[in-house]
Amino acid sequence: MSTPPPTRRASLWRRVATNAKVRYSSLLILVLVLLTVGAGWVSPHPYDQLEAAASFAAPDGNYLLGGDALGRDVLSRTLYGGRMSLAVGLLATLVAVLFGVPLGAFAGYIGGKVDWLISRAIDLLLPFPVILLAIVTKMVLGDGLLSVVLALSLVLTPFFARMARAKALSVAQLPFIEAAQGSGLGSGRIMVMHVLPHCFQPVLIMAALSVAFAILAEASLSFLGLGLPPPAPSWGGDLQASMSAFQLAPWTVLAPGFAITLAVLAFNFLGDGLRDAFDIGERFL
């Protein structure tokens, strides 16, 4: 054997890297992240600088996307607002993955009464509307990023837990688990070494889709006033503030609205592309 065949992993990542949906959506996400994280350098104006003359100013060379009711630069506010949306989307998903996946995988692998208890606890979490959770976390934690992230992670965790449980249930039946037991690995070690790695692909796909969901949910919460209070910039909040001025100055509504669409679309496409590349099909999602 002269040249070793490409390993499974190498060919898998090549499939991911060459997938068009994955490529373009990652590029778009990268641009969004760079623009919002670097909003301090990129945006032409401070997001909270009031300029009476620029109230509802139409887009021009100075105000590329025009001005809002208070004469603040719409472009700058949209760029800064993205920080909140992306941060909430990514953090809420991260927390949900970190709690939900090990919890679900544990329940599925151990089975029995432990599984029943965890599953029922997860079921209890499912029917709570995100708005109610957001109100409660806001009351407990006060205004801030943390309360929104917590509310959304509570909504997302059950989905990750259920998926990881389903995956662990099927993996636990496979012969290599018995072989691992036969070689003396304890339950915890088998979970970490042999069960969780098999959850990786479906979790990654679901995470991308869940970021999209969280961005949309964050926008809705901010729109309802459950996000950061003004004058903090946020897509949902700005949308709400400008709603009544839509006919007078449509750019004030279109800019944050289009930003939400773009971000949600990017993460949805990423999840879709990953699913195609991993070839998991519709079994898990």
Binding site: G112, F176, G182, S183, G186, P197, H198
Partner: protein, 324 residues
């Protein structure tokens, strides 16, 4: 080690699953360097015996009685900590389908390395050196490629060799091979059996070779235990079992086996009429009675006890108790 203390001693081991007896007073003893064959049809309790020895019974299964001693140390009822050290440590285990028994998303080297870390505390360069030694020992000479490979990149024979290396990682005293060649083609199967043979001699391993195939067991084992419906029905030196079977089931099994190299006389193959009774079906009588050509009315009424026929030989059949 003194010859008096067997490496592994299973005494009157009984297991039931939700009240249904699946192992009924199974006994076996295994000395260092010895190969013991466990043979019988699928579902006769061979694998259950192996799992019970390791304390890996499926959910719902319960030990009904007996003992399993490893070098004198009782394993039944031992704590999970003790058992985890024994599994893959003093007792290595090889399973039937090597392809399915290796984690598809983990490199071979890492899987074997995990056993080295777990049972011998080896990490880093020491682990790597030992890994290479093990791979060479089982005949995987391209150590770099194999260690970096995933299971599906190896052939069936190489996968089984890797499984054997993993079982050897804990420096076992006893090696249990449960149908190690069933998933392999004939030529590779005989290579794997040769390897097990060689390891047994070189390492002084006590080898428990489980197979449904008498031909696999025949040439490789010192002694053979034939199982039927959860009971050991005959124990004999391997050299004698083919020419001088004492239990009707053993005789029928041999008659149904094609070409057992140079041991069994060539006769037309004969099927065993009927089928293995469902577990727990009959509580009284000999489980083989309804398929047995020698059966008499007493056979369905009374469960035969173990009769010692001569040193190292025994059978569980009424003809020896009643002196037919």
């Amino acid at each position: 080690m003194s010859a008096d203390v067997p490496a592994l001693n299973v005494d009157d081991l009984s297991v039931d699953i939700r009240g249904v007896t699946v192992l009924d007073h199974v006994s076996l003893a295994l000395s260092p360097g010895e190969a013991l064959g466990l043979v019988g049809e699928s579902g006769c309790g061979k694998s259950m015996t192996a799992l019970a020895i390791l304390g890996l019974l499926p959910r719902g299964a319960r030990i009904g009685g007996g003992s399993v001693r490893l070098r004198g140390q009782e394993l039944l009822g031992a704590s999970e900590d003790v058992l985890c050290k024994v599994r893959g440590g003093a007792i290595g285990m090889i399973f039937q389908e090597p392809g399915a028994c290796l984690d598809p998303v983990m490199r071979i080297g890492r899987q074997i390395g995990e056993s080295l870390r777990l049972h011998r505390g080896l990490t880093g360069a020491a682990q790597d050196a030992e890994l290479r030694k093990l791979l060479l020992e089982v005949g995987l000479n391209e150590t770099d490629r194999v260690a970096r490979a995933y299971a599906h990149e190896l052939s069936g024979g190489m996968q089984q060799r890797a499984m054997i290396a993993m079982a050897l990682a804990g420096e076992p005293v006893v090696l249990i091979a449960d149908e190690p060649t069933t998933a392999l083609d004939a030529r590779i199967a005989s290579q794997i059996l040769d390897l097990l043979d060689q390891l047994r001699r070189e390492r002084g391993l006590a080898l428990l070779l489980i197979s449904h195939d008498l031909a696999v067991i025949g040439g490789r084992c010192d002694r053979v235990i034939v199982m039927y419906a959860g009971r050991a029905v005959e124990a004999a030196p391997a050299a004698q079992v083919f020419t001088d079977a004492r239990h009707p089931y053993t005789a029928a099994l041999i008659a149904a086996s094609p070409g057992i190299a140079g041991v069994a006389p060539k006769t037309p193959l004969r099927d065993i009429p009927g089928q293995l009774p469902a577990p727990g079906g009959a509580s009284d009588g000999c489980a083989f009675a309804e398929r047995c050509t020698l059966a008499r009315p007493a056979c369905v009424k009374r469960t035969p006890r173990w009769s010692t026929l001569e040193t190292g030989r025994g059978a569980r059949c009424l003809q020896y108790e009643e002196g037919w």
